[in-house]
């Protein structure tokens, strides 16, 4: 196993610094929204975590296509790495959204198109993780993973556009909200700066975690091959 690349160590430090700045901007720079109060500050990281979730599912679909074209196991390692990270961040986004909804919508949960499609996405990829475990042959497992991540990704754009096409109470951050949406607000410049900085920070965090997870995936393959060699 290769030692940790120097650039990855630098990326770890940069990510940590960006994260601290993003948190500081949320709590000390972004102004207090008047109608929702402090809970509005959940919005910055709620959207950022959802963005990372969708980004990872997109990466998994792309590497899934690459795996089917090139039949190289490194794409399978990348696919599971992206999905694992995205599953965690999408879960955080759903829970943070539910906590935001309680004082704003007066309910923890409602079967609104956005919430429903987001839950379906999370369950689709949770099922991916479980189903993978049931396939012992590495080639079949990788092929299954590639096809599943491509088909599973169809649910992601559906979630993204659900609040733009369907009647919903979920506000739209960029673009016009449905008239029935509750919790919409106009972003001031400091709010926009905090929002876009959070998106950037979480994108860098994703790259950092993805790199670490790739290294772990490669290590797992080496261990598995060595185990088979020793037991043969």
């Amino acid at each position: 196993m290769q030692s940790k690349p120097r650039f990855l160590t630098i990326l770890d430090s940069v990510t940590a610094i960006l994260f601290v700045i993003a948190v500081a901007m949320v709590f000390f720079y972004a102004p207090l929204e008047r109608t929702m109060g402090q809970v509005q500050k959940v919005f910055y990281f709620h959207v950022a975590t959802a963005w990372v979730g969708m980004l990872g599912f997109l990466v998994a679909a792309v590497v899934g296509i690459l795996y089917l074209l090139k039949n190289d196991c490194k794409y399978d390692i990348a696919g599971i790495a992206a999905i694992e990270i995205s599953l965690v961040f999408f879960f955080i986004a759903i829970i943070m959204g539910s906590i935001w909804a309680r004082p704003v919508w007066n309910t923890w949960w409602t079967w609104d198109p956005r919430l429903t499609t987001a839950t379906i996405v999370e369950l689709i990829y949770a099922a991916y993780m479980m189903l993978r475990q049931g396939i012992e042959d590495p080639d079949r497992r990788a092929r299954f993973g590639a096809v599943y991540s491509i088909l599973g990704f169809l649910s992601v754009p559906l979630t993204f556009i659900s609040i733009r096409l369907l009647r919903t109470i979920h506000p739209v951050v960029v673009g016009d909200s449905d008239p029935g949406a509750e919790g919409s607000f106009s972003m001031t410049d400091p709010m926009k700066a905090t929002f876009f900085f959070s998106l950037f920070t979480f994108s860098v965090l994703f790259v950092d975690l993805f790199w670490h997870r790739l290294r772990m995936g490669k290590l797992a393959v080496v261990v598995e091959e060595l185990r088979m060699k020793v037991s043969a």
Partner: protein, 53 residues
């Protein structure tokens, strides 16, 4: 100004939201490092076996 509503106190929900974020991230990172460490230990053991053969 007379009918202006006061900003509601929703600090508890904000704290809960960020507690979930940091809590889940902490659990994930811990599980990540534990799995990585275990794989490294497995590799060391298997390499010893491999050299022994």
């Amino acid at each position: 100004m007379l009918f202006q509503q006061a900003t509601p106190d929703t600090a508890g929900y904000m704290i809960a939201g960020y507690a979930v974020l940091f809590g889940v991230l902490l659990v994930y990172l811990t599980s990540f490092f534990v799995r990585f460490k275990k794989l490294r230990q497995d590799l060391d053991i298997l390499e010893e076996f491999d050299v022994g053969d």
